[in-house]
C-alpha cells in the first residue's frame, strides 16, 4: 500500500504519523509552501485524507481531489467534514467513536470538580508560597449538584453515569426525548439551563447546535450557574460567554474547546472561577493510541476492500 497517497491535514499525533508514513505515501499538508499548487500537482495521487477536530475535508478540498476515496477522522466529531459532499461522491468517512468516550467524560467531571472546588486556584495559591494558617480557599460542594446534559449520546451518558456516583440529579436536553432513560427531560436548552446547577455541552456540532449556548441560556443559568464545554467551541457564543463571566452574571466555566483554537479570549485568563484546557478531551497516551489504531485500521480495511471498522458514511 506504499503507493497509496494519504494527505494528513495537520500535525496531530506522532505515532499516527509514523504509522501512516510506514504504510502509505504520506503527504503532510501543513509543510507544503503553497497549498493550492500542491493540490493541483498532486490531485491524482491522493486517495485518502486524515483529519481531526482542527482540520478535515471541506467541500473545496474534496473537489480538489478527484481520486479521494476515504476521509478518516482522528476524532469522533465530524464538523470539519462536508458529509453531504462525501455522500454525493461516494467517499467513505470514518471517525473514532467509543475509544475516547471515557476520557472525554472523565475530563467533564474533572472540569466540574476543578471549577467548583477551585482546584487550579488552590494549587496556584500553594505554589505562590503565601499559604499562612488561617487563609483557606473557600469552595462550592460538588456532591448533590444538579447536572444538566445537552446531548445524551455516548459521551453524555458516560458523564451522567459518573455524576450519579456523586449523587448528582441528572437532567438533559436532546433532539427527542428518550423514554427508556430515567433522567428528567427538558424540551429546550433554556429550560434545562434554568433547572440545573452545572450545564454540560456533550452534543455534536451541527448547523442546529451552533451557538446552542447563547445569551438567553446564559441568563437562565444565572450567577451561580457553571458551564462545562467538552463539545466544540462553536457550540458557545463565545463573546457572550466572556462578558457574562467577566461581569459575574455566570458563576463559572470549565472549557476544553474554543471558537478559534488555539486562541482563547484573554479576558478569561485572570478569572479564578474559570478553568481553560487546550482541547485535551481525548488527550491521553492510551486513548490517542487507540484512536490512531482505529484510523490506520479503517484505512487498511478500505484499501484491502474489507468492511470498515467505524464508518459514518
Amino acid at each position: 500500500m506504499e503507493s497509496i497517497g494519504v494527505l494528513l491535514a495537520c500535525p496531530m499525533n506522532s505515532y499516527l504519523e509514523q504509522q501512516l508514513d510506514k504504510r502509505f505515501k504520506l503527504y503532510r499538508f501543513w509543510t507544503v509552501p503553497d497549498k493550492s499548487s500542491f493540490l493541483a500537482s498532486h490531485k491524482d495521487s491522493i486517495q485518502a485524507v486524515v483529519g481531526n477536530a482542527a482540520a478535515g475535508a471541506d467541500a473545496e478540498l474534496i473537489e480538489a481531489l478527484p481520486k479521494l476515496e476515504i476521509v478518516a477522522s482522528f476524532s469522533v466529531g465530524l464538523d470539519k467534514i462536508d458529509l453531504t459532499k462525501c455522500k454525493e461522491k461516494g467517499i467513505r468517512v470514518t471517525n473514532t467513536p467509543d475509544v475516547l468516550t471515557e476520557d472525554v467524560a472523565d475530563l467533564a467531571i474533572g472540569l466540574m470538580l476543578a471549577v467548583l472546588r477551585k482546584l487550579c486556584e488552590s494549587d496556584r495559591y500553594v505554589r505562590s508560597g503565601k499559604w499562612k494558617r488561617g487563609d483557606y480557599v473557600l469552595t462550592t460542594k460538588f456532591t448533590g449538584k444538579k447536572v444538566g446534559i445537552i446531548g445524551l449520546g455516548r459521551i453524555g451518558m458516560a458523564i451522567a453515569k459518573r455524576a450519579e456516583a456523586f449523587s448528582c440529579p441528572i437532567s438533559y436536553y436532546s433532539r427527542t426525548e428518550k423514554p427508556e432513560i430515567k433522567y428528567k427531560y427538558y424540551p429546550s436548552v433554556v429550560e434545562l439551563a434554568a433547572h440545573c446547577d452545572i450545564l454540560v455541552v456533550a452534543c455534536p456540532l451541527t448547523k442546529e447546535t451552533h451557538h446552542i449556548i447563547n445569551r438567553e441560556v446564559i441568563n437562565a443559568m444565572g450567577p451561580k450557574g457553571v458551564l462545562i464545554n467538552i463539545g466544540r467551541g462553536p457550540h458557545v457564543d463565545e463573546p457572550e460567554l466572556v462578558s457574562a463571566l467577566v461581569e459575574r452574571r455566570l458563576g463559572g466555566a470549565g472549557l476544553d474547546v474554543f471558537e478559534n483554537e488555539p486562541y482563547v479570549p484573554e479576558e478569561l485568563f485572570g478569572l479564578d472561577n474559570v478553568v481553560l484546557l487546550p482541547h485535551v478531551g481525548s488527550g491521553t497516551v492510551e486513548t490517542r493510541q487507540a484512536m490512531a489504531d482505529l484510523v490506520i485500521g479503517n484505512l487498511e480495511a478500505h484499501f484491502q476492500k474489507k468492511p470498515l471498522l467505524t464508518p459514518v458514511v
Binding site: C120, V137, T139, T143, K161, T284
Partner: protein
C-alpha cells in the same frame, strides 16, 4: 434550660464552652454562625492572660471544650479542667485529641461524623483526575498564552481501567470507592482489618497494595501506627506509573521520601491537600507540573460549613440538656493517638 432572650438572662447563667484557639471556620465565616441561646463561648484567645493562668482562673466553669486541628487537646490541658465532660471538634481528624485521657476521665468526644465525607471524597477524585489529566498544569499553560505560541500540550493518562488502592476504607474511603467505580476503576484497599461485606480486594499491608495499583488514595486517620505508613518502600512499590493522593494527614506519608521520588520520577505524580509541616510545603514541589496541591481545604465548602455549624451547636446543646450526642466518638476500641498537634 433554654434561655429565650439572652439580654434578659444573665450571661453567667449559661454554661461555658472553652475555645483555646479559633477554629478555621470561626475565622473564615464568623463565630456568630455557631451561636446558641443555650451556652456561651469562653474564648481563651481573646484574653490578655497567658493560657495556663487563664485555664486556672476559669477551670471550674468549663464543662465543654470546642477544639480544632490547630488546638491540640492534650492530657495536660484536660488535667487542668476538672469539670470537663465533653470535647467537640470541628475537624474530621481526631489525632489532635488525647482520646485515651478522655476515656480515662469519662469525657465524651463529639466528632464531625460523616458530614465531611462527600467533600473529602470529591477532593480525592478531583485531585486524581487533575494529576492524571494535567488539568491544573494545562490551565496554567493556556492562561500564560502558551497554547497559541507553543502548540499542542503533552498527553495525560487515562483514568479508566486503572487499579486504585484505598488506604483506609472508612466513611471517606468508601465514598471515594463509590465515586470511582463508574469511571471503570478497579478498587482494592488496605485497612486495619478486612471488611467482610465489601466487593473490593483486600491487601494485608500497604506495600502490597501499592505494588498492585496505579493510584494510592490515603483516606485513613493519623495514628501512631499510620505515621509514615507510606514509606520509601511503599512509594517504590507504587512505581513509575503510580500516582498518590493524600486528603488525610501529611504525616501519613514520609514527605522527604515523597519529594525525592517525585523529583527523581520514581512515581508519576501526586495530589496533596495535606503536608507534614503545614503551612510549609517543600519548595521542590513548586517546580513540578505532575503535582497538584491544595491548602488543606478539602472540607472548606460553604455547604459543609452549614452542616458543621448545625452539628457543633447540636452536639453542645444535646450535652447541656443531657440528651444523646449527635456524633459521639467511640472511645472503647482506640488506635493509638498521642494527641500530637495536627
Amino acid at each position: 434550660m433554654a434561655a429565650e432572650d439572652q439580654s434578659q438572662t444573665s450571661q453567667s447563667d449559661l454554661p461555658y464552652v472553652l475555645i483555646l484557639k479559633p477554629p478555621p471556620s470561626f475565622v473564615l465565616f464568623g463565630d456568630h454562625f455557631f451561636h446558641s441561646p443555650n451556652f456561651q463561648y469562653l474564648k481563651a484567645y481573646e484574653s490578655p492572660l497567658p493560657l495556663p493562668h487563664f485555664l486556672h482562673t476559669h477551670a471550674r466553669s468549663v464543662q465543654a471544650l470546642l477544639s480544632s486541628g490547630g488546638a491540640p487537646v492534650t492530657a495536660d490541658t484536660i488535667r487542668l479542667l476538672p469539670r470537663l465532660g465533653l470535647v467537640v471538634t470541628t475537624s474530621q481528624g481526631l489525632n489532635h485529641i488525647d482520646l485515651s485521657e478522655c476515656r480515662r476521665r469519662g469525657i465524651a468526644v463529639a466528632g464531625a461524623g460523616t458530614i465531611f465525607s462527600a467533600d473529602c471524597a470529591d477532593s480525592a477524585v478531583g485531585l486524581l483526575i487533575d494529576v492524571l489529566r494535567k488539568i491544573s498544569a494545562a490551565n496554567r499553560y493556556v492562561k500564560q498564552g502558551l497554547w497559541s505560541s507553543q502548540g499542542i500540550y503533552p498527553l495525560g493518562y487515562k483514568l479508566g481501567g486503572k487499579h486504585v488502592g484505598i488506604v483506609g476504607l472508612g466513611s471517606i474511603g468508601t465514598e471515594v470507592a463509590k465515586r470511582l467505580e463508574p469511571f471503570g476503576c478497579s478498587i482494592s484497599y488496605n485497612s486495619r482489618s478486612k471488611k467482610p461485606l465489601v466487593p473490593y480486594t483486600f491487601y494485608p499491608n500497604v506495600v502490597e497494595l501499592a505494588a498492585n495499583c496505579d493510584a494510592l488514595i490515603i483516606c485513613c486517620a493519623l495514628t501512631d501506627e499510620t505515621h509514615h505508613l507510606i514509606s520509601k518502600e511503599a512509594l517504590l512499590a507504587l512505581g513509575k506509573d503510580g500516582v498518590i493522593i493524600n486528603i488525610a494527614r501529611g504525616p501519613i506519608i514520609d514527605e522527604k521520601e515523597l519529594v525525592h521520588c517525585l523529583v527523581k520520577g520514581e512515581i508519576r505524580g501526586a495530589g496533596l491537600d495535606v503536608f507534614e509541616h503545614e503551612p510549609d510545603v517543600p519548595v521542590e514541589l513548586f517546580a513540578l507540573d505532575n503535582v497538584v496541591m491544595s491548602p488543606h481545604n478539602a472540607v472548606f465548602t460553604r455547604e459543609s460549613f452549614d452542616d458543621l455549624c448545625k452539628l457543633v451547636v447540636g452536639n453542645l446543646e444535646a450535652f447541656f440538656s443531657n440528651e444523646p450526642l449527635l456524633t459521639p466518638v467511640a472511645l472503647d476500641d482506640l488506635p493509638h493517638f498521642s494527641g500530637r498537634k495536627d
